[in-house]
Amino acid sequence: MKEKVISVRKLSKFFGKGFVAVDAISFDVFTGEIFGFLGPNGAGKTTTIKVLTTLLSPSSGDATIFGYSVKNDAAKVRASVGVVPQEFTADEDLTGFDNALLMADLYGIPRKAAKQRIAELMDLVELSSAAKRKVSTYSGGMRRRLELAIGLVNHPKVLFLDEPTLGLDVQTRTAVWNYIKKLKNDYKMTLFMTTHYLEEADSLCDRVAIIDHGKIIKIDSPSDLKASIGGDIIQLAINDKNTDLSNLLKKVKGIKTVKKISDEYRIKVKAAETIAPKLITLISSKGYQVTKLSMTKPTLDEVYLEYTGRSLREEEASAGDMMAQRRTMRLSRS
């Protein structure tokens, strides 16, 4: 059994008098996995990260990281985790390199080691050539990558990423995904990330927790989540329209239901890509030919819809605007 890295027990966070931002959530994150929090705006994702990284103290319940309680051993928690916040928090007036060096100092990393480490990290996020430039001259994507490098400066064993690709273009997003995969594969890091991009949760996370209104609704791997709402669908047709192969097909292992709708078979399976070839071989062995074949995978969006009764798509569409809005809000509030 894998070792628990993060363990959260009945954790709640209230704001003001009665507002519950995080509502008695419990979950475990195991070593080496990418654990994702998927939820819409205001679900409580950032609040959870802030509690886990000791920025906010829990209103009730507790969480431990490597066995250290965020309530009682905050200093030890801080020393062992890295954080990439949702907002850009680097000092605009300093260079990227100086920002990273300052953080390294605060983690107590010896200067010489720190400089070498930062050079490596800047290389990893492809910021080496911009490292000596003021952060105020960076683009959004560069800032996000700088935040990532800064979050890694203490070589944390667990990294918290709050919406790591919010507001990035497709290319930069893919680049950030690659860094995240690299951290997991090459450095065996445990990652806790939040997102409201379904593709992101789907392609990166080993397990996903769907969170809404501060409550965890479901935790599972993306494929099991999708399977839980019915699995993949294979649609096929054969050259002989008058024969009904339904009963034959039903016997194949992994097939849940088979329906013949006019000329086509609509088959629900657990994993389409492994079943489809078997079906083709079976059908050919009986002397028929497959004339049409298509596979549909349920998306996390459908899962999301199933469990929360709302679609994430609409919210996702305006995420870029939200991001821009949030930054302006932040500036005007100050």
């Binding site: 906010l56 907002e87 932040r330």
Partner: protein
């Protein structure tokens, strides 16, 4: 007898101290870097005291009212030189020196310390606004480092700005008869204590208020009365008695008193040592309150 436990505690303590100092050094450096990399801001903050020096110290020179006037009493043809020396005596009696410009210049040193402390204390509001403070708080740096770095930043900036104001004042004609290394050290010692106390106060206020408008309002509400209800422009002895009461407990007056005594040889009504003790208590008390309360404010 020492148990092994207390020994290991000691190790932890020294570790904490060295972590504290390292954090303090890096954070202070960060703030100072932002300052000397942006010389315009540095220069802009110098404008006000220098303009005041020029305006009140030279253009509306109070000293001129007493000396160099063409005023005379009809019938008594008093020679100009007698009038002038009479004026000088009056000046010396009022201000303790014949140069109002020099008198004011020392006041302006306290002025720049007051306002630079305020601006530096405010920078923590920005750090919070832009999430930088949150970033600091996720690192294991001792919380005290964050607060003390802000205070230290205010003190260092204040003293540097005060040096510049002093140099400008000297160029513009400040009397240098009494100035020597020792008197400069004494003056800046007093300004250090004033800056430390004021910076502590402003860091604490800044942590309490969550936006800079209210912080600015509070700061001005404090700074201007502190300045005008001090001996920066006029000697306390010339004030109405209620103002005298305020001015004589105002730490700004104490710092200026020390400066005037050291730089201009103006006799102080109280021993300088007493002024220093007062300022030290002010600085230590505000520093301690600020560090302890900030600790709590940084928590949530």
């Amino acid at each position: 007898m020492e148990t092994s436990e207390t020994a290991s505690e000691k190790v932890l303590e020294t570790r904490l101290l060295s972590r504290f100092l390292r954090g303090l050094w890096s954070l202070t450096n960060r703030d100072l870097k932002k300052w000397y990399l942006a010389p315009t801001i540095l220069l802009i903050s110098l404008i006000q005291p220098v303009v005041w020096l020029g305006l009140f110290g030279n253009a509306f020179n109070l000293g001129k009212i007493f000396t160099g006037t063409s005023f005379n009493i009809p019938g008594l043809n008093i020679p100009q030189s007698v009038l002038n020396s009479l004026g000088n005596t009056l000046l010396t009696n009022t201000f303790g020196t014949t140069s109002y410009f020099s008198f004011l210049a020392v006041g302006m040193l306290a002025f720049i310390v007051l306002f630079t402390s305020m601006m530096s204390g405010m920078s923590i509001v920005w750090d919070r606004r832009f999430g930088f403070l949150d970033k600091l708080l996720t690192t294991p740096v001792p919380r005290g480092s964050i607060v003390v770095a802000k205070i230290l930043n205010g003190v260092i900036r204040s003293l540097a700005q005060a040096v510049i104001v002093l140099v400008i004042a000297v160029i513009l004609g400040m009397t240098l008869t009494y100035v020597n290394t020792w008197s400069v050290i004494v003056t800046f010692g007093a300004l250090f204590l004033l800056g430390f106390g004021m910076s502590s106060l402003f860091v604490l206020l800044a942590l309490h208020s969550k936006d800079w408008q209210s912080q600015m309002a509070i700061a001005n509400l404090l700074n201007l009365p502190l300045l005008f209800m001090s001996n920066a422009f006029f000697p306390v002895s010339e004030m109405p008695s209620w103002l005298q009461a305020v001015a004589s407990v105002n730490p700004v007056s104490f710092a200026i008193n020390i400066g005037r005594n050291a730089l201009l040889g103006i006799p102080s009504s109280t021993p300088i040592i007493y002024d220093f003790a007062y300022l030290s208590i002010f600085a230590v008390a505000l520093g301690a309150i600020s560090i302890i309360l900030s600790w709590k404010l940084l928590k949530d």
